[in-house]
Structure formats: structure tokens, C-alpha cells
């Protein structure tokens, strides 16, 4: 840590002021947040008071990925305290203290692993020094255990008793970390720190925010691409419980005293829309895909060797086209946000994965400096990428600035499902040429995405193992808004690629696992061009999943294999399918994950199982159609979510090799559609090229 003594004092002073406000608006125990004298905040991540209370601050937004538990686990391990001793608090946005206060890209642990360890180890060293000074012994003769410093002659001093003295010491610049064999908390099963509040129904989420003087609002949004021409608000304004009806940016906001009053008013609101260009439909999107596939304007993302020449020499050519629709994120907690805009300051509160960009966006919109905009981060009822977009934050802020009231804007499920920033719709075309011995000599991929950016991942496997490669991308602009959706791009590219490689293996007469291993062997000896993955780590998850799933050793069970590298982690899967009453049923998925060090085994299993269920559910059921710029379906009665009676057994294993931890919120999702589709093929000889399967 580069924290200097002066910084520390400044930060302590800062936090004495800020943290007594607390993050939890309802059950805030102000005294629990107070920093006791100078023996309080040691650094951004932790404080210890003279009574021995250890508070660990988790800066990153919690969307169900378990970061609020995982971060403190790392600090507590190096601090060497008993987990039962610690209290965990969500830190609000503080750009001075924290560098990456966001949730996205499965990047939090990768980014913060060293910082968290240092935060804990530094304070542990200060505690030992304080004790050594007190006992007049050399610090190297002292040890720690469970929040107590142990001296050479059997002396004992708790961290609490040492806190005040320790806080006056210079902050050490060099610290040593624990050997991982001595870990007591890291790698164990640690329960979610919010469990107690969740199971007793505490108001933790954005939708639960209540502030003095607050009003409620819902916003009626136009079809994609349409403009608001007029709306009839006079009758609506007279309805009971309605405070105001205002319009901004083609939207109409109904402000009211309670949710039901607003819901009723909405039913009476009439909005007329127009548009300069024809509004988009699913047919429009299909036409764009067709055109994109024929276009000569593709951007070349990667070129190794000479694909065109090589494919001409191939003894067999395999081609396939894959396609996925726009889908909604549909977190169980629909979008919502609280804003209280005053003339020279703003309070924002609610579920955002990106508090700092939210602050910046509101600052730009309202021309109020960022340092006058406070952001409170609530727990989130799921995110899946949806809360990386700031549209709903900006709406709340703009509405509050218009009505000059603190307001909670709530989206109904229908608003949430039709309101955009979807997973982009994408079509892929793959082509592979194999020689007489079944080796892939040429590989081609074109992705055509609708507001997808680069819909390929041009440096990912099997690239690096093939001499002649051409990868192209076309991004077609659409009025339908898109955004990152759990494992952006790879959530479908992973399926398409792994399904295609299965087809290639079959055409080459090779076992799909052996084919991958042979390709990786090639990468290990002489990679072609730039690669982003480590072939040895790829190989390990493949070998382990083959063993754990008893690949091809289970008579009567149809298996499908896939493996994918994303967010710096590696996941191999084998899915099993049985045919029941003539229909394929996914009965089991075995997954082996290399995400480096497993910080919290319970949380890690949750992420892997959850991502597999997510991947399977969306591959099987999810689809939005468009007609005149409007998405349908708009609720769970017709937009099918996977349910508890449809999930296979999931056997989740971890390589747990001690490498610095990498992402886990997303990586288990991309291989899922592929392992399942390949198992369905093994069972039925029917290949899936489109999602959803059903």
C-alpha cells in the first residue's frame, strides 16, 4: 500500500464524517460505523477499533456474484483474524479511496487480489510492531492468530488493545503474505455476509429505498426508433394519488404517491408516436443478417496465413451458420433508481454496477460537478450486465431535476423486458477445411452483430492452433439498444464455436476431446500468431473434465463436450442427455474450472452452477421478437425462464492451482450452450444452430 501516514489521517478524518451516514438506509447502526478515535480506519479496506471490532469495507457493487463476501475474506486472511469476528460493510462510491469500484467483466478479484492482501498484511504487521514495542522484543519473534499478537514469552495482546498504538506507527511498505498452505479462510466455504438480512426480509435493494419526501414514478418509453408526438395527461393528472405527469426525451413520466396509483394512471395514458424511418421488426433484423453475410465491407479482425488458398486445398469443408436473438437481462429486481437533485448537489442511490460512470453521466447531464454528487450503492437483485448501463440512472436524475423532488423511478417487469439494452442479436458463419489426416488447415469466422461492436473474439482458441485463419466482423447499427449481457459476446459465440468444433471433429473422424488436446499441443509447441490464453491451463481443465465425467465410459448416456476461455478463466464441461418419451433431457453437467485460487468455495460453486443454469435456460427458451420497434414477449408468462424442475445435476470442480484468482461471475456460462447442444446431438443426431433451441 502506498498509504502514507498523512494520507491515513486524512482518510480517517474523511471517513469519520462519511461513514457515520452508513450505507444501509434502514437498519443503519450508526455507532457501528463510527471510527473510534485515531484507532479506526487503517486503510481503504479495514478499520479496527479499540474494542476489537474489525470492519472490512467492500467497495464493489454486489449483484449476487458474492464480492461482498470474497473481498473481505482475502483481507481477513492476511490480517489473520477470526472470520466470526469481522463485520462487513458496503462502501459507497469514493473515488479517492478506491480505484475500480465497479462490477463487470468478472474482473474484481483479478484487479484487487494484491491490494486486498496488502491491506490485511500491512495492518497485521503494524499490530505485531505495536505489540513488539510494548513488550520490548524484536518483532520477528512475534506471531499472530485469530486477531491476537503472540509474543516469544507467551505474551498475548488483542488487535483491539493494540489498535490505538498501531495506528500511530508508520505504515510499512514491505509486507510478506501468508503461504497458501496456511490459509484458514481462503478456499473454505464462507456463507454470504448478507444472508441473515436476506432471510429475514430486510430492505436491502434499490427498490426498497425510502427517503424523506420521496415520491414514486414510472416512465413510459417509446418504441425503439420512435419519437413522442403527443400525449394526453389532463385526465391522468386528476387521478387519485397522481402528483404530476411530465415529459422529457420522448418519454412520459407519471409521478405519484404510490405504485398502484401510478399503475392505474398508466392504463389511462395515451401516447402518440411517430418516426422518420420505418420501425424495426424481426424481419428487418433477418434482412440485415443476410446482407451482412454477403457484404464485402467486413472488418478483418485477424488474418493468419492464407485462408482462401488453404481452404481450396482441403479434402473436406465444413460450414455452419449460427444465430441468436436479442434477449433481456431480466434480473429479478427490475430496474429502478433514486435521485434527489437539488440546485447544487445530487444524491443518487440504488442498484448500479458502475457508480463512478453513473456519477459522471449525471454530472454531464445536469452540469453539476461530480464532487457534489453522492452515490449510495444498494445491493442488487441481479445485474447480469444490465446495470452497467446508466440509462435508468439518468432518467431518475433528469426527472428529479424537473419535478424538484426526491424520486424513486421504478420499472415494471414489462418496462424492464421491453426497455432495452439487450444482449445483441448475432449471426455467425463458420467454415473449416480439413486435410486427408483430419487436421484443420483453414478456419474462417464472420460475425454479423446488431449493435454488438466486435462480435468475434479473434485471439481466442482455436486460433493459435491453425495455420490459415480469417476472422471478420460486421456491426450493423440498430435502434434497439444493447449492452453487455453476462459474458458479453462469448455467451453466444462460445456456443456457436463449440458446436461447430464438434461438427468438425465428427467430420474429421476424431474424438472432440482428443481433437482439442491435439490442437493445444500444437499451440504449446508453435503457436500461430498472437494468443490470449495459456494452452497448459486449457489442457488441464479438459483432461480433468474427461476424467470426472467418465467421458465416453458411461453406456447409454449421451455426452457432449465443450471448453471455453473467458475473463481469464478456463471452464470445460461435459453435458449428459437422456432421451425420455422421445425427447432429449439434460440430466447432468460436469464442469471443471480454472479460476486460479478459489477464494470462497461456497460462492465459487454458486457462480459456476448459476452460470450453467443461466446459460442453459437462455439457450433453450429466451427470445425477443420485434414488431414496429416494440419487443415481445414482455413478461415471464411468455418469456420463459428456466425453473427448478428443469435443471440438471451439476457437478462443479475447481483446479484450484493457487494462481492469482481470476473471474468467475461469467466464465462458466459461455461453454454451456455448446456442451448441451453437443450432448443433444449425441442423443438425437439433431444439431442446433439457433438459440433458443425450443
Amino acid at each position: 500500500m502506498k498509504t502514507s501516514r498523512r494520507d491515513f489521517l486524512q482518510k480517517t478524518a474523511l471517513f469519520t464524517g462519511v461513514f457515520t451516514l452508513g450505507f444501509d438506509w434502514f437498519s443503519a447502526d450508526a455507532s457501528a460505523m463510527e471510527v473510534v478515535g485515531s484507532a479506526g480506519r487503517f486503510n481503504a479496506f479495514l478499520s479496527i477499533d479499540s474494542l476489537g471490532k474489525v470492519i472490512l469495507y467492500s467497495p464493489n457493487p454486489e449483484i449476487g456474484q458474492g464480492i461482498k463476501t470474497a473481498f473481505p475474506v482475502v483481507v481477513a486472511e492476511e490480517l489473520d483474524v477470526d472470520w466470526a469476528q469481522v463485520q462487513v460493510e458496503q462502501a459507497n462510491l469514493d473515488t479517492k479511496l478506491f480505484e475500480r469500484q465497479l462490477t463487470g467483466g468478472s474482473g474484481a478479484l483479478k484487479h484487487s487480489w494484491e491490494r486486498l492482501r496488502k491491506a490485511g498484511a500491512t495492518v497485521r504487521k503494524m499490530m505485531m510492531q505495536a505489540a513488539a514495542d510494548q513488550w520490548k522484543v524484536d518483532v520477528s519473534t512475534c506471531k499472530t492468530a485469530k486477531g491476537v499478537v503472540l509474543g516469544p514469552a507467551g505474551q498475548k495482546a488483542t488487535y483491539g488493545s493494540l489498535a490505538e498504538a498501531a495506528a500511530k506507527l508508520p505504515v510499512p511498505t514491505e509486507v510478506t503474505f501468508k503461504d497458501r498452505k496456511d490459509y484458514k479462510i481462503i478456499g473454505s466455504r464462507v456463507k454470504g455476509v448478507d444472508n441473515k438480512n436476506v432471510i429475514t426480509g430486510k430492505p436491502l435493494f434499490g427498490i426498497d429505498i425510502r427517503k424523506p419526501g420521496m415520491v414514486f414514478a414510472q416512465i413510459v418509453r417509446p418504441p425503439f426508433g420512435a419519437t413522442l408526438k403527443s400525449f394526453s395527461a389532463d385526465d391522468v393528472k386528476k387521478m387519485p394519488g397522481i402528483i404530476d405527469v411530465v415529459s422529457f426525451k420522448n418519454k412520459v413520466a407519471i409521478v405519484g404517491e404510490n405504485t398502484y396509483a401510478i399503475l392505474q394512471a398508466r392504463a389511462s395514458l395515451r401516447c402518440d408516436y411517430g418516426s422518420d424511418a420505418p420501425l424495426e421488426s424481426t424481419e428487418t433484423h433477418q434482412k440485415w443478417f443476410d446482407e451482412g453475410m454477403k457484404s464485402d465491407k467486413a472488418q478483418v479482425m485477424r488474418k493468419d496465413g492464407d485462408f482462401t488458398a488453404a481452404i481450396a486445398t482441403a479434402t473436406k469443408v465444413i460450414e455452419a451458420t449460427y444465430e441468436c436473438p436479442f434477449i433481456s437481462h431480466s434480473p429479478m429486481e427490475p430496474m429502478n433508481f433514486f435521485a434527489d437533485v437539488k440546485s447544487d448537489s445530487v444524491l443518487l442511490a440504488g442498484p448500479t454496477q458502475v457508480p463512478q460512470p453513473a456519477q459522471k453521466a449525471v454530472s454531464d447531464l445536469l452540469k453539476i460537478p461530480s464532487d457534489k454528487i453522492q452515490v449510495e450503492i444498494s445491493k442488487m437483485g441481479g445485474g447480469f450486465g444490465r446495470r452497467l448501463s446508466n440509462d435508468f440512472v439518468l432518467e431518475a436524475a433528469e426527472l428529479s431535476s424537473i419535478i424538484k423532488k426526491p424520486v424513486l423511478v421504478m420499472w415494471t417487469r414489462e418496462d424492464d423486458m421491453t426497455g432495452g439494452t439487450y444482449r445483441p442479436a448475432v449471426r455467425y458463419h463458420f467454415k473449416a477445411g480439413i486435410d486427408a489426416s483430419g487436421n484443420i488447415v483453414a478456419f474462417y469466422l464472420r460475425g454479423v452483430g446488431l449493435n454488438a461492436g466486435n462480435s468475434t473474439r479473434q485471439d481466442n482458441f482455436p486460433v493459435g492452433a491453425i495455420e490459415n485463419v480469417l476472422i471478420e466482423s460486421i456491426d450493423q447499427k440498430s435502434a434497439v439498444t444493447t449492452g453487455p449481457w453476462r459474458a458479453p459476446i462469448t455467451n453466444f459465440l462460445g456456443f456457436a464455436e463449440q458446436a461447430f468444433l464438434d461438427e468438425v471433429a465428427e467430420a474429421a473422424g476424431k474424438d472432440p476431446i482428443q481433437m482439442r488436446l491435439a490442437l493445444l499441443d500444437r499451440v504449446k509447441t508453435k503457436p500461430v500468431g498472437k494468443i490470449t490464453y495459456e494452452p497448459a491451463r486449457f489442457e488441464e481443465v479438459i483432461k480433468q473434465v474427461a476424467e470426472k465425467s467418465q467421458w465416453k465410459k458411461k453406456p447409454g448416456v449421451h455426452q457432449g463436450f465443450s471448453v471455453y476461455y473467458s475473463h481469464l478463466s478456463y471452464v470445460a464441461q461435459v453435458a449428459e442427455v437422456k432421451v425420455e418419451n422421445g425427447k432429449p433431457k439434460v440430466t447432468k453437467v460436469t464442469a471443471v474450472t480454472d479460476c486460479g485460487e478459489v477464494v470462497n468455495l461456497s460462492g465459487a460453486e454458486n457462480q459456476v452452477k448459476g452460470a450453467i443454469i443461466d446459460g442453459m435456460g437462455h439457450a433453450m427458451f429466451a427470445k425477443l421478437n420485434f414488431q414496429a420497434g416494440v419487443a415481445s414477449p414482455n413478461n415471464f408468462n411468455t418469456y420463459r425462464m428456466i425453473r427448478g424442475n428443469e435443471v440438471p445435476v451439476i457437478d462443479a470442480h475447481f483446479v484450484n492451482n493457487g494462481i492469482a484468482p481470476t473471474g468467475l461471475g461469467e466464465p462458466a456460462l459461455p461453454p454451456t450452450g455448446g456442451s448441451i447442444a453437443n450432448a443433444i446431438y449425441a442423443a438425437t443426431k439433431k444439431r442446433h444452430y439457433k438459440q433458443p433451441f425450443s
Partner: protein
């Protein structure tokens, strides 16, 4: 005319539109925020509460239908979190985002009240009306089993 009912053993009087769904009466008028909105059309189960001891979807239940009824929400199941279902949920670390879990817990506790020792299939069937977007389904099913064990035969 006000609707009178009992919520978590407290008598309440709701002088609001009798068509108001119980969910919004609880959340907006009684400040009981534990019961969650998920879909508004009785499809996801996030809003599950007990009406006279039976799990019901509060998002489609007008308060006119709960006159004189005994209503139990997640806040009233056991405020200390000691109900066997709550304990099992914590022990097996069920929640991910946690948003749907109040509805899951009220459904599970209702299931076990009527059938304290369900078979695996009864658990799967009994819980499949509740959506969990994070996919905590396995742990939900295991936790119902664990809670069932905690309820003495």
C-alpha cells in the same frame, strides 16, 4: 371503507383503494419491504406471502380479498431468522443476489407446514413455481430437505 386484517400478528386498517394488490399495500402503505415485486402477474413467486397460513401471490391479490385475514410476510416468519427454513437457507448459503429468496422461503415454509417431510420430487414440484434468475435451484432444493430434517418427526 377501510379493509381490516392482521399482518404479522398486528392488526392493521387499510383505507385505500380496495383493488390495490396486497403486494403494494404491504410495500407502499405498511412499509413492509421484504416482500418483493418480480412480475406482477403471479408468474415468479417473488411476492409470496401467507394468507391464513397458505402461500399466495400477493401481486395479484386485491386487499378486498384479505379482509379479516391473517397475513404473514417474510418479516413475520421469524424476525430472528430461526425458522428451520431460514436456518437451512443460511447454512447451505442459498442466496446469490437474494432478491427472490423471501418468496422462495415463504413458499418453502408453506410447503413444509402442509407436508413436513416431502419427497425429493414433492420438493422439486413444490418449489418450481418460483423463479430464481441467479439459478440457486439446487441449493433451494437441498435447503428444503435440510429444513425438513430440522422439523422433528
Amino acid at each position: 371503507m377501510a379493509i381490516n386484517c392482521t399482518v404479522n400478528k398486528k392488526k392493521v386498517s387499510l383505507d385505500i383503494d380496495p383493488n390495490t394488490p396486497l403486494l403494494w399495500a404491504l410495500r407502499d402503505h405498511l412499509s413492509l419491504l421484504g416482500t418483493k415485486y418480480g412480475c406482477g402477474i403471479a408468474q415468479c413467486g417473488a411476492c409470496t406471502v401467507w394468507v391464513n397460513g397458505e402461500p399466495m401471490r400477493s401481486c395479484v391479490l386485491p386487499i378486498s380479498a384479505v379482509s379479516n385475514a391473517q397475513i404473514t410476510t417474510i418479516e413475520g416468519l421469524d424476525p430472528a431468522g430461526k425458522h428451520p427454513v431460514q436456518q437451512a437457507w443460511d447454512e447451505l448459503d442459498v442466496p446469490q443476489c437474494g432478491y427472490c429468496q423471501a418468496g422462495q422461503i415463504m413458499t418453502a415454509a408453506g410447503l413444509l407446514k402442509n407436508n413436513p417431510h416431502p419427497t425429493d420430487q414433492e420438493i422439486i414440484d413444490g418449489m418450481s413455481g418460483n423463479i430464481c434468475r441467479c439459478g440457486t435451484y439446487h441449493r433451494i432444493q437441498e435447503a428444503v430437505k435440510l429444513a425438513s430434517k430440522k422439523i422433528k418427526k
